[in-house]
Amino acid sequence: MTKYWKSLDGNSIQNKKEKVEKKSSTNRRDFLKTFGFGLASTFILSRCENAAHKAIPYLIKPEEVTPSIANYYTSSFFDGDKFNSILVKVLDGRPIKIEGNDLSSISLGATNSITQASILSLYDDTRYRKPKVNGEDSDWGTIDKQIIDQLKKAKEEKGKIAIVSPTIISPSTKKVIADFIKEYPTTEHITYNAISVSGLLDANKESFGKRIIPNYKFDKAKIIVGINADFLGTWLSPVEYTKQYVQNRQVSEDNREMSLHIQVESGMSLTGSNADERIIINPSEEQNLVANLYNYIANKVGEEEITASKPTMKITELGNDLLKNKGKSLVVCGTNNKETQLIVNGINQLLENYGKTISFNQALLTKQADDLEMADFIKNIDSYKGIIFYDCNPVYDYPAKEKLTNAIKNIELSISFSAIPDETSEIVKYVCPAHNYLEAWNDFNPKEGIYTLSQPCIHPIFDTRREQESFLKWAGIEQEYYQIIKQNWKSAVYSKTNLAFDFENFWIKSLQDGIIELESNSSEPKYKNDLSAIKITEPKSELELHIYESVHIGSGKHANNPWLQELPDPVSKVTWDNYAAISPFLSKEKSLKTGDVIIISGTMEIPVLVQPGQAKNTISIALGYGRTVAGKSGKDVGTDVYQLIKTDGYKEYSTDITIEKTKVFKELATTQLHDSMEGRDIVRETTLDKYKEKPSAGNERHKEIEKHHNTLYQEYVYEGHHWGMAVDLNACTGCNSCVAACSIENNVPIVGKEEVKRAHEMHWMRIDRYYAGDPENPEVIRQPVMCQHCGNAPCENVCPVGATNHSAEGINQMAYNRCIGTRYCNNNCPYKVRRFNWFDYNKSDALEGNLYDPHGMTKDLPRMVLNPDVTVRAKGVIEKCSFCVQRIQEKKLKAKMENRALQDGEILTACQQTCPANAIVFGDLNDKNSKVSKLFEQQRRYHLLEELHTLPTVGYLTKVRNKKGKKSNNKDHQKHA
């Protein structure tokens, strides 16, 4: 999967997994050498114009660079919210793709959509080119001088200075900040998390004496109860949790066990839509439910109960299920309410989960901020002489916007390190733009005992400077940050390992692996808690608002990333917008339909989306939208709901609201209009009980259809390779990371909101989502659909020019140059996976002046992200999934040059590589031992619309629901054979 490297100092450095060897750069000289190649290209880059016209050949080729062959560098992605260990694919000096680092125990090679898309922020055209003073371009010399003067002045006057940042998990950065504070002792470091878990942290502090997030082990749990915690989509470390979660969800003929997942929630989340059972509550019922659950369990195990009013719903079954799995269960709650979290801790304690499914070893460190600290800071903000905003944008993502804005305007020294203009950087005095993370060194400590590095993969494109360098400069420390990291590692990490015989080797290895994981086996802390003091909030009957984090936009930091904006929401399939999700019940009651604009609590207008499975009296709205200062893709997209978060005490992500109907209609850009499977045999599913009895359960039709597979002409026999793909519907959570990865890998154009509305989106793969059963609490089922590479492809037959045809390896291929765009193939495709270039999206048309590029993707800078191994498609041609044929060719060629057979698993398609759920497996069907062949032997395997005899080479494995002996109520999509 990655570039094979000869290590730089000639020592053969072996990896744990031999086949994965990663690039490291040894020292400063090597570092410079590494980037020497980049000088020419980045020089051109920064000048933007004439970019492609002045490619200069190497005089002396750097040894690690072969034109058109990609190098992979390890790095880390952390946006102040979520962490991911990554590999950066650098081709001819340009980072063009991010893959997960499979040495990381956190993500095991997977990434989420935000990480995938983050590569584009490197080439964000709105980035600050230079430091700015009062909005005017400046230079570092001037700006440093002014800032140092002011800092000194503040120091003399004992004026308070604040560094505001999200949780910082970089040990070296922390050290730099500490050094800075040493120099300016009046400085305070205030952290806040836009999406806060303060309640959880403080509850843990109270229960265990440790203010950290424990290490949840979803793979160890037989029963998982998620309470408003979208742990597969957004909560804390979703990639990690997904990886764990699917381990107990992927059944096979040899392992017919799977966990039971019950989700208690208000809005339909990605996690909830994957649950075996969903219990719908209004946010105000949450505490009551948790307390009653606690009481039920406490009662059974003979512990003391707490005072709570009667539960609003039946919890007996839930309680019994949990009790049956003592020590093998896991209850997680996403609330920021400390009391609730205390009770949840109590439940987990009663269930003896600590030390088993929850551990304080390798605790998660990505969120540590304290809401009260920030609230306090805001209260006293006027007493500060200076504020430094480090990697944060509180003017947007902290509810007290007005106060902050006024304060910043009045403060003498306000600094933002933001690399791109945002609401905060727009009003500060000094903008000291930081590097993009792909341009800078850094280290991270995302979990206790886990250290990772990020290394620059490209010379800084603009005149920017990493934040740490700024701090060092202002503190008067003449040391490079890189050296600080190295020193820090030597003392803090190297000393605790015995991985290499000297530090340099250790350092090389660290860079090569990108991650160092230390053994840690400190004992679990003791639980001590008194819940009796907690007063349980009574459920309310008014309309409530539930504010949640969306899977792709997150806190809103990446709102200017068109790739993320165009990714459909995993549940609603809406792009480019947030919306007020209302229940079908409310829709009827208030006669609102999707697209009707309502006014929330008299302050904000937002269109409605009727969301099956939504709590009846709750409206859910996603954060991260409504940015007012951002590039074109982020600005004024959707509505900002940060202001509705209450901040007295812990941030409250739910609140009472009123709504008011307007006459305005605002069409949402949705990629899927129809939610029902119409009783069709599209996604086959069964229940675990039935599966245990018979692995072909739910898939009886497969055999039946195979029996009738007759043909008027011989099926083609593929000698050599026959590529195929297996998609495990039981594993797929629908997170859309694959869609993001596919689009990035294959240069899929961005079409923008208006075009999505017109059903012109271009994604090569999509995740179909269907609802079944009761609209108030439906079952959700998903299916990733890409080109099925049919053996009897209906599309190929009808292309008049033969532009789409079949390769000798079973791939349905497109010759873009040949295509004349009749769209006949698309009409004839039963899966509708073909996409047509409606306009000239990438300046490749023969005619002039007809560019359609609403989000500036063809500007010189964003264009740098294009994958040169994949043709950009001209206006008027059809495109579609190619099974990442460029990757197949690359690996085939490599195997050939190394004179060996291609290994199974060597070729990974972009979607497969990024999938956190291991749902996609690609390989050679002719190799009987390949993983994909083994999966094809599973009795769960079927093909989409196989009765049409299109002979797809994409196979699906049936979905298995863990429904406990209940009669299946989804007759709607259970086909009788």
Binding site: P800, N805, C819, R823, N827, K832, F839, K875, G876
Partner: protein, 446 residues
């Protein structure tokens, strides 16, 4: 030729050879009236708007149409099939009716054939402009090239290229062969020098020699024999565009004959529309008599009923097949979001032609004119229903979409109407609209 007393004279007004020539010749030399100029202006303007819209489409991209990821073909191909369908009547009249010795065709075949050619020209435009890369449209021709790639002979769209081209060329030749003697007549009667030279050029040196006539007849008859299966093949192949696919509502074996019947149905409706106007404005009531109209109406009942039976057959087999997708496709047509299009189609094509069972209505000019419009509307909707409702909800509900045309698509359609009428108006002005020589053979007074 002995008298066959039981048959009525085909044309009225007790014409002799001379008066027939006069009647056909005079409009060519007479100064056209205001209506003609107004019509031409209107049609040409519409054509211009159409051309502008086409240029815009080619320049900007198909994205300015309403088609989308699910419905790849919308108005464009609907119009294509509609125009091709209309383009069937002329050749049907001149070829098949010639083979069946239906002499009444002589009054209308000339203009019907002209209409055919113009309609096919309009039709041929659509497959071209609906291409995403029109400028590379020549890829569709099998010409030797350095890349050694040919075309895909499996593709019905490619068959279309051959079928439409062949049909256009053969119809043109057939039409022109029939025109030559009449152009000779025009030439010989023309007084002004320039015009005479013009028609001399067009008339290919026709003299009226017995040998020429003998060959003329045999060539006409052979061409009719060739054109008859050709006319069937064209709409058959157009139907293959749909029927070869696997899309429910498209893939059904009855399509070939049913499309042909539908084509003739709509073609006759268009012939009626034009003839009813032409006979009135050009004083051709004696040639295009109420009997002609009645006979055409009978063909309309016949073909309309065939179409109706085909609809019902499709419906029944959709149920009988037991294939849920098939059944759904038809239920969706009738009750889905495009139900209105389906019921317009049903009303116009199946129900309303049945009114022609009443002789009184069959012989009413006004009613016939109204019906001819209704049928053309209905047949347009038939194609719309087939294309759009089948595509918009096919196999995977996740991809279900709606289709709405944009103004550009509408204007292109209007543009082709403009092109059609422009050509037709020019035709009636410069060419003999009635096949004089053939009509002369049918009269008894010679």
């Amino acid at each position: 030729m002995s008298d066959i007393s039981t048959r009525e004279e085909l044309i009225q007004g007790n014409k002799d050879l001379k008066t027939i020539t006069d009647d056909v010749f005079n409009p060519i030399v007479a100064k056209p009236n205001k209506f003609w100029f107004a019509g031409l202006l209107l049609a040409a303007s519409a054509a211009l708007i159409g051309v502008i819209s086409i240029v815009l489409t080619v320049w900007k991209g198909i994205g300015i149409w309403g088609v989308n990821k699910t419905i790849g073909w919308g108005w464009g191909i609907t119009n294509f099939v509609w125009w091709v369908g209309i383009g069937h009547a002329g050749t049907f009249i001149s070829a098949i009716l010639l083979l069946f010795r239906q002499k009444w065709r002589t009054s209308i075949n000339r203009s019907a054939e002209a209409m055919t050619i113009f309609a096919v020209i309009c039709a041929g435009l659509f497959p071209l402009i609906h291409m995403g890369r029109l400028l590379l449209g020549f890829f569709i021709l099998p010409y030797p090239n350095t890349r050694d790639v040919w075309v895909n002979f499996n593709s019905p769209l490619l068959w279309d290229v051959f079928a439409i081209t062949t049909y256009l060329l053969v119809s043109l030749v057939f039409w022109y062969v029939g025109l030559i003697p009449d152009l000779g007549t025009v030439r010989d009667r023309m007084k002004t020098k320039f015009k005479k030279a013009f028609y001399r050029l067009l008339s290919f040196g026709w003299t009226g020699s017995a040998k020429h006539w003998q060959r003329f007849e045999i060539v006409s008859f052979t061409l009719a024999g060739l054109a008859a299966p050709l006319v069937l093949s064209v709409h058959t192949i157009v139907s293959f565009d749909f029927a070869t696919s696997v899309i429910p509502g498209w893939h059904t074996t009855i399509f070939p004959p049913y499309f042909v019947a539908g084509a003739i149905f709509s073609g006759f409706a268009m012939v009626l529309t034009l003839m009813i106007v032409a006979r009135k404005t050009m004083n051709l009531q004696d040639y295009i008599t109420i009997n002609h109209i009645e006979l055409m109406n009978k063909i309309i009942i016949l073909t309309g009923s065939i179409v109706g039976i085909a609809y019902l057959t499709e419906l029944f087999i959709a149920w009988y097949s037991g294939v849920e997708y098939e059944l759904f496709a038809f239920v969706n047509r009738a009750t889905g979001p495009y139900w209105w299009a389906y019921w317009i189609m049903m009303t116009c094509n199946v129900v309303s032609p049945q009114l022609f069972w009443f002789k009184k209505l069959r012989r009413s000019i006004w009613f016939t004119f109204l019906m001819s419009i209704v049928i053309n509307v209905g047949m347009w909707f038939e194609r719309f229903v087939i294309i759009v409702t089948s595509l918009h909800r096919d196999y995977l509900p996740s991809s279900w979409e709606m289709y709405k045309p944009t103004i550009i698509e509408v204007l292109i359609f209007v543009g082709t109407l403009g092109i059609f009428f422009t050509l037709f108006l020019l035709f009636v002005r410069f060419f003999p609209v009635i096949a004089m020589a053939e009509v002369k053979t049918t009269i008894k007074n010679k």
